[in-house]
């Protein structure tokens, strides 16, 4: 029997240390790039040195970060098979979080696209979609659970080939001291759903390889992102592609920006967010 152990000299502390240190220059298809300026891909028009987050999220993986007010967050689906399930929280008071119902009800629009806010349940915009080349998103189905994932794929084991979206959200949330009760319904990007006249939910799939979505943080946010198949994905196999994440500093939506007064409802949401931010001297 040949073993990977044969390739490692680890019979003393110093040998084990040398063996561990020798691995450091390796790369992976899926990894965070640190510093973020070392990202192998930089979004067009963005200063590499300005990046504050650069990462490729593995299929079935997740990522999370606290980002400042005004931060631009870009998600890329290089293969046309990613599905970015997203929940955002007010980082200062995490009981304020994405409210999907308000996010579609207040703007009078169920299908996410550029200019659409991600609203909290407290009447504020947490984020705004600033650009979108996909148009295939979903606000109805949330993410997968261990129950649905086991029924579909046969397993939802966290270490296995088909982890569930909720279990990944739970791990991401735990890294910020949050638990299951903190997880509201999520939205998903890059895999669309449409509602038929009779109410049937039709899976639209993706817009193809190379789509991206960009958001701006209207308040400091805890961002949780999970990359698992959409709950309505018709494939029998667990085929989700890598998800690329970048972020860099910017400004929230402020007076003077056409988006600020795009609709009366969103205008009041921005006024509420600014009111909150100014009181906290953000």
């Amino acid at each position: 029997m040949t073993s990977i152990a044969d390739d490692h000299q680890t019979d003393s502390v110093l040998a084990a240390r040398a063996d561990a240190r020798a691995q450091a220059e390796r790369t992976s298809e899926y990894m965070p790039y640190r510093p973020a300026s070392s990202s192998p891909v930089v979004p067009k028009g963005v200063d590499r040195d300005a990046l504050v987050w650069a990462e490729t999220v593995a299929p079935g993986g997740y990522t999370h970060k606290v980002i400042a007010r005004g931060t631009r967050l870009r998600l890329d689906d290089p293969t046309g098979t990613a599905c970015a399930h997203v929940v955002v929280f007010n980082a200062l008071e995490t009981n304020e979080r994405l409210n999907v119902a308000d996010t579609i009800k207040i703007p009078w629009q169920a299908y996410l696209g550029a200019g659409h806010p991600l609203l909290s349940g407290d009447g504020r915009a947490l984020a705004t979609i600033t650009s979108d080349t996909s148009g295939h998103h979903d606000t109805f189905c949330g993410t997968s659970t261990d129950e649905s994932t086991t029924a579909k794929y046969g397993s939802a084991a966290p270490e296995g080939p088909s982890p569930s979206g909720r279990s990944r959200f739970l791990l991401a949330a735990a890294k910020h001291g949050l638990t299951g009760r903190d997880l509201p319904p999520s939205v998903s990007f890059f895999q669309g759903v449409r509602v038929e006249p009779d109410g049937a939910l039709t899976f639209l799939g993706s817009a193809g390889a190379g789509a991206h979505v960009e958001l701006v943080a209207e308040l400091p946010l805890v961002v949780l992102i999970v990359n698992v198949p959409h709950p309505l994905d018709p494939a029998d196999d667990y085929l989700v592609g890598p998800l690329v994440v970048h972020a860099w500093p910017g400004e929230p939506t402020l007076p003077g920006d056409p988006q600020f007064t795009a609709t009366p409802e969103v205008n009041r949401a921005y006024l509420n967010s600014i009111d909150y931010a100014e009181a906290r001297a953000l």
Binding site: M1, T2, S3, I4, A5, D7, H8, T10, D11, S12, V13, L14, A15, A16, R17, D19, A20, Q23, A24, E25, R26, T27, S28, E29, Y30, M31, P32, R34, V57, A58, P59, G60, G61, P78, T79, T81, Y153, G154, S155, A157, P158, E159, G160, P161, S162, P163, S167, L170, L171, A174, K175, G177, T179, G180, D237, Y238, L239, V240, G241, P242
Partner: protein, 262 residues
Amino acid sequence: MSTSTSTTPTSTGTATGTTTHTVAGRALVTTVPVGAHYVDGTTLDPNGPLASGPVVLDQTVAPLAPWSARLLAGQTLTIVDVGGNQSADFLVYNAHDTDERYSAPDTLAWQGNAYLREGSVLRSNLGRPLMTVTGNEIDRQDTIGGACSKESNTLRYGFHTEHQHGCRENFLAEAARHGLGARDLVSNINWFMNVPVEPDGALGIVDGMSAPGKRVAIRAEMDVLVIVSNCPQMNNPCNDFNCTPLRMLVTDPLRETGPDNA
């Protein structure tokens, strides 16, 4: 997922590689970069309990997987290192008040020794006995090395390991099933892992001292909740670079009824 899950690369060179796994009796193709299981030809010895009394629970923890169980006071958990040198990362809580949980410093200070052996009392953060090591078939057991995590892997091995599954992920996933979270994770025990402290203070995970079928037996001194991660680490020798199953046996000298299996 069945314990017979196997991983076989089926394609390479594509933007996103896939592997095929046997899950619930069917082949599942996935793009998830699942960690490696043991290689064919690995010696596996499931052995049996290292304590007297009827067996009331007998479960196999698949490579890479989490596990938990509640034990009643007086019951003994035998952990079998089925494939040899497979770290069983281990936490234990008072089943009725999980604010009381395993404390490595209390355990070590009370016994005046850095390693766990037969007779070691696993103490809580209140200094009380949670469990006692009643049987041990390797020279020493570790409670200094802590658990691996996807985050700490980036410090030890590089950022390319960040996506890999780790014990802290297993602990969090299993803890969540019991209403516990990140605040409830503390320095743990690593059964079958070897972490020497050398005369100059050098400390690290080195080749293990265990072998297929070696066991440890731990008796519950109160009703306890045990959470285990069958360590998925493949960057250091804590699993001999060959992740194998663990067998968990609970024996009960007093009762015929089983524990509240988690």
